[in-house]
Amino acid sequence: MKKTIPLLIVIVGGIIWVLWAFSPHYLLQEVFYNKFYLPWSYASAPFAMLLGVMSLSMMHSNKIKRRAPKWQYSYFFFAGFIITALAGFIGGTQKGGVFMWMFENMQMPMSATMFSLLAFYMASAAYKAFRARSPEATVLLVAAIVVMLAQVPLGMKISKHLPTISQWILDVPNLASKRGIMLGVGLGSVATSLKILLGIERSYLGGGD
């Protein structure tokens, strides 16, 4: 029973979504989707978020209680959480408020810092990838050099054909392999959806039967 009812909900919901995908009818597109599904999904999302916040708070309070390694950092979580929430609730989230100030001057620079690290990681990943240890890796190295050179003015100086070759690499072999993966992904998605719809795949219900 514990699994049957959720399974029934999933199957019925799944069938409605299949119908929604194939039918443009007013009842499905307007009455079901716009008037029923969207408002309910908006209404239920905050409750799920509350669960998330509770989970995070419990984890950090446990860490503090147990004096787990680096437990002091958990205070930063509570400080950040409380200050941001208060700033949002009291001053609002509009531009000019404390919340937006914190977002623009703290969160955004920190995110930008993390993002900028990507450049260095990419360089190190490229180094690993481009070591010509096998014929495949050599092909990859040559293709990458051509594509990279074609992106900069120097490439045009070396050869006027370089941008054309680069574009060909991107449009033909690269796109072909991408499409191959995409076809697999598309079919896999349909297969997974079918498995869920037919009740074959139940792992999302939380483990075994």
Partner: protein, 974 residues
């Protein structure tokens, strides 16, 4: 003097006070500097007296203003927030003046209105500025006296939530529909002659409200409309017919009527002076035609024709005409004079033929008006090489969804030549073709292109031609303005679509289309809201019912004792009348009231009233007939009598109304009425008019049914999108193959599944963590529950968690999505229970981290480093965070297994992880690891179906090479 501790404190205090004073004074000075200057309120010219124009000088860019907030009130000591005008603080306002037009419905009350009166933010207690008008019925009723109010009500709120409310005026027995304040949006329109007060204040990017501008007052005044931009007249000599067509001025919302005047005895220059004096115009102008201009905001036909006899036609050749536009206040304007062009009816454009069809594959809110075959035209050209010998020509194909075009043929001619130098057959329409320019020809001389098509109609029964001319600015060949259809230049002609409803035969303008269009999709929306004027407000005060009513000559307050059982909430009062259907037999709209009791009362009252009117009219008609009146007068009275009789018959015998009135419950009755009214209101009739915009117009015939009545069409809501037949077929085929392979697997057939290295290594990776005594990390990416990758990841999590529980290895699952978290917790918990280790389950090891992308990365990386992970799993959908996490994992020496369907991240995973599941391998993981026959069956079916797709791709490519596009066109593009 020694500065000891006792003296130091007062000195420091003094310094502090001085400092604070300086800061406050500076702030004050700054606020004064930031006040908007030159704030003026003026009447909007040429309007109906419901508009005021506000203008002010915007503050300099360095003040970093982000918005100007406009406030309005009916007294200078209480003004409410009206509108916010957003400004880019970086660029500021480029113009010297800013304008705000208060000439349309502004929000008076809506869902965002505060519950009670609230002063504006950062304002002192004596400030006259308040936030939006609150939902305080007393204040609303008081303010409502100074505006015309219109309530916009969601249909279900009006049908089912409105209350039967009566005014406190004992002389008024009307049942109003009482709407609660939170069940409607009320719009306010300015009243002519009423005084309004305005101010505006600037808000800088630190959200600081500056001082408001000096309060200015204004009073809207009705003005005469602007004259028509142009009047064109044509005399068709062979048909003795005068034709007029005109262009309306910019502001035309309050125009009610037009008159064509025959003007005599003035020169053009004198007329320009005389037309400003209506009394003088009356002496020299004679009306010869008249009609309506608009219905609400909807425009009617802007042309008319008038038959004349031969003698009059001769006189009219040199006559001059003007167009008089009359607004709702009765004020007029007169256009410049127009002398008719003398033309023959053969010069008229061809009569348009059109059909109206339901737009296929939609939810039933669109119709297609189709007046022509598909039209193809060149939009631009671009040279593809230095020598200009290769041209890319972009074209556009305009056709309705139901029209088919198989091939398009382009023929290119050099300037002045009649033999085509190039022919291109476009068998797959991708909106571009390539043209080889003949060697030695200077392509800047241009070409002529002739276009024909294979359509549903007979082949080549019409030809389209365009000239491609050298454009200096664009430095390429561009199509000229002209479009020739069978040699006839059609680019100056427009196809104007008009429509009518079921209840009225008045044609309303939908859209003016160019000759490059051959169809128009007209939206016939499902009714969602109803608009009703607010007649007043009603509320209870103690044991009294108070009503402020606006529907008398002047707003009046009424009070009386509340009757037992009476509705006494806070209500706005709107008309309770509603249309039910159109009675085609009696040619009248059927009206009723929202509430059963008043609806029956209406039938009774109206029947008596109509009966009396009919008797009176019949008596008058008998008297008139004896006096031998003019036939038109008699006909008018007869029509009037017929209309009254029709209304009475409809009221007493219309079956729908009778059925509605027989239903006792309000909601049941309204459900029935809603079904009727929402259905009939969506029937539309159409007409297409082809015109040159200058009096040469031809109307299409009205579409009539076999009984000679106009055809009215209602869009149909389709149950199936026919563009998705192939998709459905493929899905069913795939579903069938899944079922077949699942059954084969169930029967014990050994299904071979190719080995996937990443999955085989999962056990080893878990074993390694166990041996090292370090935890494992399982990251489900940043996808939501609706992502298939996340669902697949959940399956793998269950298996990994089982092994981890078996070996007593700690598994940490930081979640990106708070909806995923409880599911992940449940999966891990179930895994621990299933291997008999519920004691080792720690809820806190599966937790929500954050849904901010890089904050999540920071969190996960921190965990990886602190906990010194032995194994990392990255399964799900990933974006830019993938590499940041896997490189960190690499740095801490963890074995990493990743799987994703995000194509952009696969290379990063391959580079930095030990094993990677690419795309569909991730989806297959659950089946592969479980080795369950049912899951393996789906995997096998998936592989076979991939083979089918590959075959279709190859066959399609081969067929397309031989210009056979059937298969390509069969497959949907999206």
């Amino acid at each position: 003097m020694r500065l000891d501790k006792r003296r130091l404190i007062p000195v420091l205090l003094l310094v502090l006070i001085a400092l604070v004073s300086v800061v406050i004074a500076q702030k004050q000075a700054q606020r004064d500097d930031y006040v908007v200057q030159d704030f003026k309120v003026e009447d909007v010219p040429s309007d109906d007296g419901s508009g005021l124009m506000l203008s002010w000088k915007p503050l300099e860019r360095d003040k970093r203003i982000i918005e100007y907030r406009v406030y309005r009130g009916v007294s200078p000591d209480q003004m409410f927030f009206l509108e916010s005008i957003q400004v880019n603080p970086k660029s500021g306002v480029a113009s010297d003046k800013m304008y705000y037009y208060d000439n349309s419905g502004s929000e008076f009350l809506d869902v965002n209105s505060p519950g009670k009166l609230k002063r504006e933010k950062q304002q002192p207690s004596n400030s006259p500025l308040f936030r939006k008008i609150p939902r305080d019925v007393k204040l609303l009723a008081e303010l409502g006296k100074s505006y015309d109010l219109l309530s916009v009500i969601e249909k279900n709120h009006l049908y089912y939530s409105s209350k039967e409310v009566y005014s406190a005026d004992s002389a008024d027995s009307t049942a109003y529909a009482g709407m609660k304040m939170n069940r409607q949006t009320i719009l306010a329109f300015l009243k002519p002659g009423q005084k309004y007060y305005y101010t505006v204040l600037a808000v800088n990017e630190r959200n600081q409200f500056q001082n408001f501008a000096k309060v200015a007052e204004g009073s809207p005044v009705p003005d005469a409309p602007d004259p028509a931009n142009a009047l064109y007249s044509v005399l068709l000599e062979d048909k003795n017919e005068l034709r007029f067509e005109w262009e309306y001025p910019l502001y035309k919302d309050d125009l009610q009527q037009y008159q064509i005047l025959l003007v005599s005895g003035v020169s053009d220059s004198t007329w320009l002076r005389v037309r400003k004096l209506p009394t003088a115009v009356e002496n020299i102008a004679t009306p010869i035609a008249a009609g309506g201009v608009s219905q609400g905001y909807l425009l009617l036909k802007n042309y008319t024709s008038l038959p004349v006899d031969a003698a009059q036609a001769a006189q009219m050749k040199n006559a001059r005409f003007c167009l008089q536009l009359i607004d709702s206040q009765g004020m007029s304007s007169y256009s410049a004079l127009s002398t008719p062009r003398l033309l023959q009816s053969a010069q008229l454009p061809p009569k348009p033929n059109f059909i109206v069809e339901d737009k296929p594959n939609d939810k039933g809110d669109r119709l297609t008006v189709l007046w022509d075959k598909p039209i193809v035209f060149v939009t631009k050209t671009s040279s593809q090489n230095k020598d200009n010998t290769k041209l890319k020509i972009n074209y556009q194909l305009n056709k309705a969804e139901t029209q088919k075009v198989k091939n398009i043929y382009f023929e290119f001619f050099k300037a002045g030549e009649s033999n085509a130098f190039a022919k291109v057959k476009e068998y797959y329409q991708d909106n571009s073709i390539m043209l080889k320019v003949p060697a030695g020809y200077d392509y800047a001389k241009g070409f002529r292109v002739r276009i024909t098509m294979d359509t549903d109609s007979p082949k080549n029964d019409y030809v389209l031609e365009q000239d491609l001319l050298w454009d200096k600015k664009m430095m390429t060949l561009m199509p000229g303005k002209e479009l020739y259809r069978n040699g006839y230049e059609v680019s100056t002609l427009s196809n104007v679509v008009y429509r009518r409803g079921m209840a009225s035969d008045t044609m309303i303008l939908v859209k003016k289309n160019t000759s490059f269009d051959n169809n128009l999709d007209v939206t016939v929306a499902y009714p969602t809201v109803l608009q009703k004027p607010v007649y007043g407000f009603s509320y209870a005060s103690g044991d009294s019912l108070i009503s402020i009513m606006y529907n008398a000559e002047k707003p009046t307050r009424f009070a009386r004792k509340i009757k037992p059982g009476e509705n006494t909430g806070n209500y706005s009062l709107v008309d309770a009348g509603i249309d039910v259907t159109y009675d085609a037999k009696n040619e009248t709209s059927v009206q009723t009231r929202l509430f059963p009791g008043p609806a029956l009362q209406l039938v009774k009252e109206q029947s008596t009233k109509l009966g009396t009117q009919i008797k009176e009219l019949e008596a008058n008609l008998a008297t008139m007939s004896a006096l031998n009146p003019a036939p038109p007068q008699l006909a008018k009275m007869t029509d009037q009598l017929k209309s009254l009789k029709g209304k009475l018959a409809s009221l007493t015998s219309n079956p729908e109304l009778k059925k509605a009135n027989a239903i006792k419950s309000k909601n049941g009755r309204m459900r029935y009425i809603a079904g009727l009214r929402e259905d009939y209101s969506r029937y539309q009739g159409y007409q297409v008019v082809k015109t040159d915009g200058k009096g040469m117009f031809v109307e299409s015939d009205m579409l009539l049914d076999k009984d000679g009545k106009p055809v009215l069409t209602k869009p149909v809501s389709n149950w199936f999108d026919r563009n998705k037949f192939v998709t459905l077929f493929a899905t069913l085929l795939f579903g069938l193959s899944v079922i077949i392979f699942v059954n084969l697997a169930k029967r014990g057939k050994d299904l071979y599944i190719r080995p996937i290295a990443g999955l085989s290594e999962i056990d080893n990776a878990i074993g390694r963590a166990t041996e090292m005594g370090r935890p494992m990390l399982y990251c489900m990416g940043n996808g939501g529950l609706s992502d298939v990758a996340t669902l697949a990841s959940m399956g793998i999590l269950g298996l990994v968690a089982k092994k981890a529980a078996e070996y007593d290895t700690k598994l940490i699952v930081p979640c990106y999505d708070y909806i995923i978290m409880p599911i992940a917790q449940e999966i891990v918990r179930e895994a621990h229970y299933s291997v008999g280790r519920p004691d080792t389950y720690d809820k806190n090891s599966v937790f929500y981290l954050t849904n901010v992308q890089f904050a999540y990365v920071a969190g996960v990386n921190g965990i990886m480093i602190r906990e010194r992970m032995a194994t990392n799993f990255f399964m799900g959908f990933f974006a830019a965070e993938a590499l940041l996490m896997t490189e960190t994992g690499n740095a801490v020496g963890a074995v990493q297994i990743a799987g994703t369907d995000a194509i952009t991240q696969i290379p990063f995973f391959i580079t930095t992880c030990d094993y990677t599941l690419i795309g569909e391998e991730l989806y297959a993981a659950s089946a592969y690891l479980n080795r369950e026959p049912m899951l393996l069956g789906t995997l096998k079916a998936q592989d076979y179906f991939k083979f089918v797709i590959l075959s279709v791709v190859i066959v399609g490519a081969i067929l397309s090479t031989f210009q056979i596009t059937g298969l390509t066109l069969l497959l949907p593009l999206k």
